[in-house]
């Protein structure tokens, strides 16, 4: 009896030892990835402290030479000459993107779902993904050349009675150019997710709706859209969080000093003043301010979504 117990304990100890050994091995395997994340994701977060300092290039983040200046840079950013313009531009561009960039893939997925001819459907879908795979640089080049005085889109506009001019340096046109480019590039690829959600909706629900006399629009409204609710909610929350961080890569390629008044956003401003002019502390403060607001917006959107639809990120 005692021997048996001792054997069980020995066995347990052995298993315990094995688990420790295995855990060490598992951690060793995960180590390179965890280390990369630490270096390239966590250290920059820690580097945010320079927004509270008078950071001199080449210096460390802490230590003797560091001059702490509190909220000086934040104050300068908020009271600064460009603050209202930056916030306004960011909100306008992201707002347009939220309106059209988020809805276009949903509408396209709903449209595609109505196509019963399989080969035609496949063709339309495949073609719609293609713009996503073209690089932003090439897309920007195309857009600019289409919108010059004798470009193909300008021809189209003048056909519809709009004045002929260089639309690519036109302030009034810029937000629409930016939005249209984003939508063109992303609607097909963005719809993949929605299409897969639609295809997972129980066909029985459609049968039931039909029996109840629902027409096509009513089926979409009462079956398809409710089936997509959770994914749409989550995508909207993510988009809300990104409202203050518009696609500055595309803007950097499309804007010119002639359109800065409507195109300059916090991301591009940070690039020009931070990277090109070396105002590190100031632009880090601007960036931190943006991420904090973005985080708060995500939080708020999540809360609202949880209340309204019962779905949320957490």
């Amino acid at each position: 009896m005692r021997e048996e117990k001792a054997a069980v304990i020995r066995k347990k100890k052995k298993i315990g030892k094995n688990i420790v050994k295995e855990n060490i091995l598992i951690y060793l395997m995960m180590l390179p990835t965890l280390l990369l994340i630490f270096v390239f994701s966590y250290i920059p977060m820690y580097g945010l402290v320079i927004s509270f300092q008078d950071y001199a290039p080449g210096a460390g983040f802490f230590g003797d030479g560091v001059k702490w200046v509190g909220l000086k840079w934040f104050r300068r950013f908020i009271e600064g000459h460009y603050f209202s313009r930056l916030i306004k531009n960011t909100l306008v561009l992201s707002g347009l993107n939220l309106m059209f960039g988020v809805t276009a893939p949903i509408l396209f997925a709903l449209l595609i779902d109505q196509i019963r001819h399989i080969r035609y459907k496949k063709f339309v879908q495949t073609v719609s993904y293609m713009p996503y795979f073209i690089s932003t640089v090439v897309v920007a080049g195309m857009v600019i050349s289409f919108l010059t005085n004798d470009g193909i889109l300008t021809n189209l506009f003048s056909f519809f009675g709009l004045p002929r001019k260089d639309y690519h340096i036109d302030s009034a046109a810029f937000p629409w150019i930016y939005t249209a480019t984003n939508v063109w590039k992303g609607f097909g690829f963005g719809s993949i997710l929605y299409c897969s959600v639609i295809s997972s909706i129980d066909p029985g629900l459609y049968e039931a709706a039909k029996l109840d006399g629902a027409n096509r629009a009513q089926q979409v409204w009462h079956v398809t859209l409710p089936g997509m609710r959770s994914v749409i909610a989550i995508n909207l929350i993510m988009a809300m969080g990104a409202v203050l961080s518009s696609n500055s890569e595309l803007i950097l390629l499309l804007y010119t000093p002639a359109t800065y008044n409507v195109a300059d956003v916090i991301g591009t401003y940070t690039y020009r003043l931070g990277i090109l002019e070396g105002q590190y502390s100031y632009t880090t403060a601007a960036g931190l301010f943006t991420s904090l607001i973005g985080f708060m917006l995500t939080f708020l959107a999540n809360k609202i979504s949880n209340k309204l639809t019962g779905y949320g990120l957490w």
């Binding site: 295995e22 091995l25 395997m29 945010l48 339309v124 719609s128 073209i134 690089s135 990277i275 985080f295």
Partner: protein, 261 residues
């Protein structure tokens, strides 16, 4: 009979309209690319007027000849490939190892690791602290600046992990009972079964790196190591400067082009 059919198929006029709308969407997606293609194949005198709409006017491969002979462009192609290949391989490895670790059932401290992965998805240091870090690490002006920060992705880890979750426990248990250790289970069960998801993240990574230019603009000041997209951007800026001729509206962009080039 007719009535029943209408309920099932809906109004044929609406059906036709929907098919036309889908066709129009496909046209909008496709035509700009086709237009660029026929423009590039047309004779320069027609291309210059931009009045080429349906098919190339006067076939001329001159533009392609210029490209093929452009040694600078070939160098940037080489650089891009040098960045794409190792980054993609490393991406698959780092994602797989981390995802595998997270799917081991007796992993201790999983909660902590999950938190560790979650935080950077919502919060990041941003452009300037990353730039300063890269400079401090000596990666500024080094080709490694295009590989190291790009060879992992938390999103991909989560993607691979959720795929690994679909592998039946029974399979893993059977391997363990047969005496397979942690490494053997990974090599003989997870890696062969995970091939589809590896392909997915590899494609994402290849497309992402192939098309990226911003990181290269930040960290690679010399043409020697610049990738294709940065070269294309320089062409774009030069073209814009020509379009705008004398007026110096692009002054700001020219300076930052000369900086990156």
């Amino acid at each position: 009979m007719k009535h029943k059919r209408r309920i099932r198929e809906g109004n044929p006029v609406v059906t036709i309209i929907l098919y036309l709308m889908a066709g129009l969407t496909a046209f909008i997606a496709l035509y700009p690319m086709y237009y660029i293609l026929i423009l590039s194949l047309s004779e320069p005198r027609f291309a210059a007027t931009m009045k080429v709409y349906l098919y190339p006017k006067g076939l001329d491969l001159g533009a392609y000849e210029v490209i093929v002979k452009d040694s600078k462009m070939w160098r940037t192609y080489r650089n891009t490939i040098l960045y794409v290949v190792p980054t993609t391989i490393l991406m698959v490895i780092t994602s797989t190892l981390a995802a595998y670790g997270l799917s081991c059932r007796n992993l201790r401290g999983r909660k902590f690791i999950n938190m560790y992965l979650l935080i950077p998805m919502y919060f990041s240091g941003g452009m300037i602290p990353s730039f300063l870090l890269m400079t401090r690490l000596g990666l500024y002006d080094s080709p490694l600046s295009q590989i190291l920060p790009a060879c992992f992705s938390i999103w991909n880890i989560i993607l691979v992990r959720s795929y690994f979750r679909t592998i039946p426990d029974a399979l893993v248990d059977a391997a363990r009972i047969d005496g397979a250790g942690i490494v053997q289970t990974l090599r003989n069960i997870y890696v062969p079964l995970g091939k589809p998801i590896f392909a997915v993240i590899a494609v994402y990574t290849i497309v992402g790196i192939w098309n990226s230019w911003f990181g290269a603009m930040l960290y690679l000041p010399h043409q020697e190591w610049q990738p294709l997209q940065l070269y294309l951007r320089r062409l774009l800026i030069e073209a814009q400067a020509t379009i705008n001729g004398g007026d110096d509206q692009l002054g700001g962009r020219r300076t930052d082009a000369s900086r990156s080039g």
